[in-house]
Symmetry: D3
Subunit: 337 residues, 6 copies
């Protein structure tokens, strides 16, 4: 199964050694984004993976392309136009100090300004078997929202699987009326979707799903989600759950079909860099989907991948199948030689 993603490539700049921006004159540079993370990770799993995106037509775009190619991503649908790439600075937290992300202009980036006609969508959809679309495209600009929804529709009509990641960030949608607009866009997207990444909160708060026919189960989140899945004919719905017990972080995952649900054990987490770990979970789920693994095998692999991603610097999960399987089979190993 060939997998493609439509999504923004961002430049990530990180001060070294947990320093804050005021404390350093050097930054670590990487290229990232939900789509990059996902297809970069899938390429590490041996899946032929494509990215549909727009990069600046300048030296920075060239450097970004070098990094995408380095990850093993197929870049023949990447276009180069305009001059700007969305950027973020990540001041890495420690202990009680949270990681702080500062975004720089994303709306006017080469990706943010791109319209659907800029891309060779037909060939892209023809090439792949499954398309992944990130919810951030729905809020970034009118142009990216339009492209995302049309891509989903075209892919769906072409008989390709459509995977959508809610990835709703309240902080990016604080303007008046923005949330209502977002709800509308999400509802336009959902009829074309086969796989969703999200949470109960996305359903209650964002798409404001209300069960009508199933009153007695109101406290059962799984049947609530399944009723939603049933409505939109979603095959898989998956996500992770973060908790904190006595100041120690924990992570578990779930994967739900219209009939079944699988939840993992709750694992403790030692976090080196949590950005991108959700994308690692998604990559694991899509690998299981593409290889027709059982729900249980899939969700444990995906969560193992997400746990490993928390222990890797940077957004892009560089994990291989061997590494994930070793964690699952031999979790005490701390030195390989």
């Amino acid at each position: 199964m060939k997998i493609g993603a439509f999504g923004e490539v961002m430049l990530r700049l990180t001060p070294p050694e947990h320093l804050m921006l005021e404390q350093t004159h050097t930054l670590r540079m990487a290229y990232t984004g939900t789509g990059v993370n996902l297809v970069g990770n899938l390429a590490h799993f041996g899946v032929e993976s494509y990215l549909l995106t727009a990069l600046p037509d300048n030296r920075l775009g060239k450097a970004a392309l070098t990094n995408l190619n380095g990850l093993g991503i197929q870049t023949k649908y990447v276009i180069h136009q305009y001059q700007h790439i969305g950027t973020y600075f990540a001041e890495m937290g420690y202990g009680v100090r949270p990681t702080e992300v500062t975004y720089q202009n994303r709306k006017h980036s080469s990706f943010g300004l791109s319209v659907i006609e800029d891309y060779d969508c037909a060939a892209f959809i023809d090439e792949i078997d499954l398309i992944h679309i990130c919810g951030i495209s729905l809020s970034l600009s009118d142009e990216t929202a339009e492209t995302a929804i049309q891509l989903a529709e075209q892919a769906h009509k072409a008989g390709k699987k459509v995977c959508f990641d809610f990835n709703y960030r309240p902080s990016l949608n604080q303007e008046d009326g923005k949330k209502e607009q977002m709800k509308k866009r999400y509802h336009s997207m959902l009829p074309y979707c086969d796989i969703l990444f999200g949470s109960v909160r996305d359903l209650t708060e964002l798409v404001q799903w209300e069960e009508t026919d199933n009153v007695e189960n109101e406290h059962d989140p799984i049947s609530y989600i399944q009723s939603f899945m049933n409505h939109y004919d979603i095959q898989w719905f998956a996500g992770t759950r973060r908790e904190s017990v006595d100041g120690r972080k924990q992570l578990s995952g779930y994967l739900i079909t219209q009939q079944e649900a699988e939840k993992t054990t709750v694992y403790p987490l030692d976090v080196l860099d949590r950005i991108g770990a959700g994308d690692a979970f998604a990559a694991g789920i899509l690998l299981g989907f593409s290889e027709k693994w059982s729900l249980q095998k899939t969700v444990y692999f995906a969560l193992g991948n997400a746990r490993l991603a928390h222990s890797i610097q940077g957004d892009v999960p560089l994990t291989t199948r061997v590494q994930v399987e070793r964690l699952l089979n031999d979790p005490e190993t701390d030195l390989i030689r």
Copy 2:
């Protein structure tokens, strides 16, 4: 309220990534010191903050000044003379390995050699509402001790608040008779003080306070401290308490008036760099003092600030009000975007 500190600026040199001095050819450079930490942090809280100190009259003094200005400290009372800056090397510990600080010549530094006539004390005292003096000035050199005590006296007489940090380091006072001399100097300082940072141990061991009129309370540290405060007419007495339970570090804080006492919850600590965390606590207390917050609000803010300071590389607490308040109100947040 405008706050000023009299104190040494030191050059701190730190090997990267927990390396020891033998293992590295590179060092991270920063400018620090109790006074710098305190007024640098207060400047980040929006307080107009001044430093009275002496820097070398050479390229290093220029670099130090750049860093003080960068912190937002008002430097117009900083003087430049002689050629040497006190220096320390901090080999950062990990796990069971303690952080090791190696001091280089502080006594003959521009600050250590400075006498009170070198400074424009009158203007400095006139400018500020509260002066902070660090106990290290009392042991560094006869000159700095003399200046510290006279500054306290002049500020007190001018109706300004005087804040004194015991900050007694037995290791810096091991010469014969030094401890006795120190006791005398501390007793000269205390009559001018309004706010003290210290601990019961400072009172019992250093100033050797003995309650005469209050025998029945001998096991009650708070009334013991209050009897001392009463004697010297101290308004606030504050400090932190470090503990270790099952190998896990913990921190709490207290703030005592002549009538009341407030202690915080005991919090677990993940330590990135503990140097300077005490100064963060002091900065928080002085902010509460200057803004007339309640004891409780003050001590929780100060301790939150100290906890954050443990999670920041370097001595100088670069925390803002927003960051401290977020920790207090939303302690589980580990990613802001």
Copy 3:
């Protein structure tokens, strides 16, 4: 004389050791811009120097402010609004490989979006004796052009000196009609100016100055410039001239009044980083102006400063008077101890 500048603060990101963007995962970070360079350098000369600009209201704006303060610039007129700072990447050239600058979105930066009402212009003009305005403000956005011209007018009317740097970049003005618009804006600016930084080419190509009354001197660039100065009642007109002889770079400078003209010797150049060297020349000229030096002393100091700036990494000239005078008086010194 107190000097203020109106100009953009940019984030500069530079790969280490002449590497290209594709070759590195680390970048050196600095804050720069014509105004920053100029007043930062003047602050190093001991001039009280102010910057009027807009920084993002986020962590990056805070880091930028730290750097401006560190340079010794007075920042009380700096405002914080919006979220974006103009950025550029500088791939440092070597030998036949030119340095390549890649700009990221400047138009939508906090500065690019700022309008004159955002600033406290009256107080700023009142505070300073001379205002420096950079020609880039005229092309960056309609808002910054408007602000630049109004500031010049207000300062002129308030009896303050106005210094304008042509700094015209054809590459930033390639849209249709942009050059014509620029010419108009430059002509709006000129009536308020006392000091100009520019070249004959700026006069012929950009403002398209044609001498009408002085036909016989058409091949004499100095009288051509003086006729222009006479028309707009300009006091000083200054600039540098780059040449290359047998592959070796050379630099000279000139300073012209309506009556006189002074040119320096032509000096060979070893270039470490040429960005910002023009601003160093301008800073030297303004220092001479403010201290009423002779033309000759001024232009040699300014050119010495520019030559030193070519030997310093980064845009901001960190030179002191001592360093410039040492170069002028003792040019063979290569080691000071």
Copy 4:
């Protein structure tokens, strides 16, 4: 025209800032080799470029692959086997201090041990239009020599162009009888070749070419080379010539057909890193060949590319067509913005 190379991938480790190995605890890491340099550069020119090589089947092989992909090289014919990659340390010289290269075990590397059956040669030759083979393969191991010669033969028979780079290193061939063996291998290779990179010295010393029928031209190197080309029916013979005049380095290039010869101007050289510059020249020649440029256009482009390569850190020439053409058309440009 699709171009492929057969060659070793090496790990290059370089101390930063001209330091020697004893002075540093950090190294810069890159993946390089004549084939990598050539096809990596051609990929930057927009040519579809392939590498046939063997990498270790471990984490290091994965990292190498990341870097090859990043360069834009097509890697589908790259195989992974064994555990070792050839390595070299480059202590960068300065002034009178030469750059010193220290090789680590190349013979037992994954490439050194590989035999022709390990590769999918048929598909590789079928895919490409021109194969580049480096002379180092002839001396590295018996296995690589055998593979190189067979590849040349197969490609030649399949009607593909064969390009061979003499690249003879006396230091790698000092064992008894090695030179004689090398001569034999070179003679086995030559009948299949269309394009050669070499020098007169390669012909006189290594392959020991003696003109028999053209005695009168013994002092004319071009007709000497052409008689050799005529014998082996070589289309193009190209190379560069390094000189030093008054301690200043210079470079020129030549390109010879059986009838014609084109030599470039001699250019001065400022050298940042000369390793790989010969491969840049070769890449330029092959670009001209594939695009059917004139001899003159080709050799000037190739030499411009080589001159730029001297100004880039590392072996792999990352130049683009735009950069080379800018050097040729506008050689004085030292800052692009």
Copy 5:
């Protein structure tokens, strides 16, 4: 007591800040190996310590020697021959991600190729009182195995103490028949040994020790080990034991004579870099042996040393007696100044 070790010097290359090889262009470089770790640590304890090894006869061998000398190791028996040093890359793990070591060619290194005649064994044995031999020598190459066994025999016959570290790595011995060969080599070595570092598993799996005369104690590992020690007349047998409880790592140590056995408390471990910690334990045991400390003092010192080694970057334990004693006497200290 003068202590010498026979063992390989390896080059260790480590990406900074827990990065993986794909994520970095820089590496930290160090020289290491069981022998280096052991005698380097002993030199830090003030023991005159010697290394018998072979380094490349090139710049890399020179750099390695610089590092050995820097550690305070006596290097007069170090020889320089051939061109290659065994190398390994350590991608440092974090949380659930294990540290991954990737070895590069060790068998063809200067050490791997060395034969006993290359060394001045007689003088070396004459110089020292105790020789330490690492089990890796037995599996690295036939040459190093031969040298190791002969050195043990010669030292034993000369009345010197022989210490042998099992250090058996199944992953290095996976070829057919290799394990059987290893068993034979270990049995050849044992008759000359006085001190062993190993575990029950080494006895059961590798040397396949079976007690014949002591059937009733089959579940008592100590008497099992003692029966083995008795057979080969071993004085001391020591080792550490790693456990993991609720995901938290723990370490304890044991030291056994033919009559007695001492086990330490089990301590929690915070791990910065666990490679080399076993060598730290060995160094502590040998220090106690050479200074005739009690079993208890020895094993607690050795384990304290091993615990500290887990908190130091790199393989070589740089601990001093002062540091180990401080951990034992004042375990809560986390800041020394």
Copy 6:
């Protein structure tokens, strides 16, 4: 011949990449000093070389010792006392910008405070054949001056060669009467000396030598120096001469006996780091002296060594005989592989 030096060990801190102190948060750390440079270089030439010095008795002293050992210097006469090491910061110049050295407190360093009784002088003198003493010891403190003169006297009386380097720095001797005191100390030293490093200016300005019997040769510097050598019975007098022609630096060397004089060609210089290059020249002279080379061979080797030292980062010349001889025999080589 075994050579020993008495001299200060300093900590050198250098900003990377020609940055100034204000521009960086990282520094490169090295241990240096005339004695270190000299015997470190001689150790690289294979000479058994000793250092007599005092290091701090703390972590910094340990790190310094590691570095001395790493250089191959014999350190058994190094003592550890007090807490401070002399430090200097070197801001590396470029082009017209000179390198600026900023010293930190040297007088109160462990070396500056040391008295002759602290050292085991008798054993040191007994061990070596030639002692090198640096003129800086004469001006650093009364204690070091006293020790230097007594060491020279004792060595001379013991029949060992005494080598003295004038190394007079006017900037270190600006106090009233200091120059007169220095003159006296230099005259106390000279009667014990066999080899001197200096210049005509040292003789005329510092020791104020006046020829009495040789009036006619007043314009002949060599006979002037020889008359001085004759007076004090000096064997060898050597030094280098720096010139600048058309902005290009040049270097030559001379070596004078009482009868003969040898001067080298004048060579152009490309300077990476000139600090320590004079010590490289001295090391070369002492090597020639100890190996009884001809004057010509000696001075050319010494100057070649000094030229190489200008192309090495840091003070300590790490050159080997092979490298110097390669420069002399094959000066055009710029790449060794």
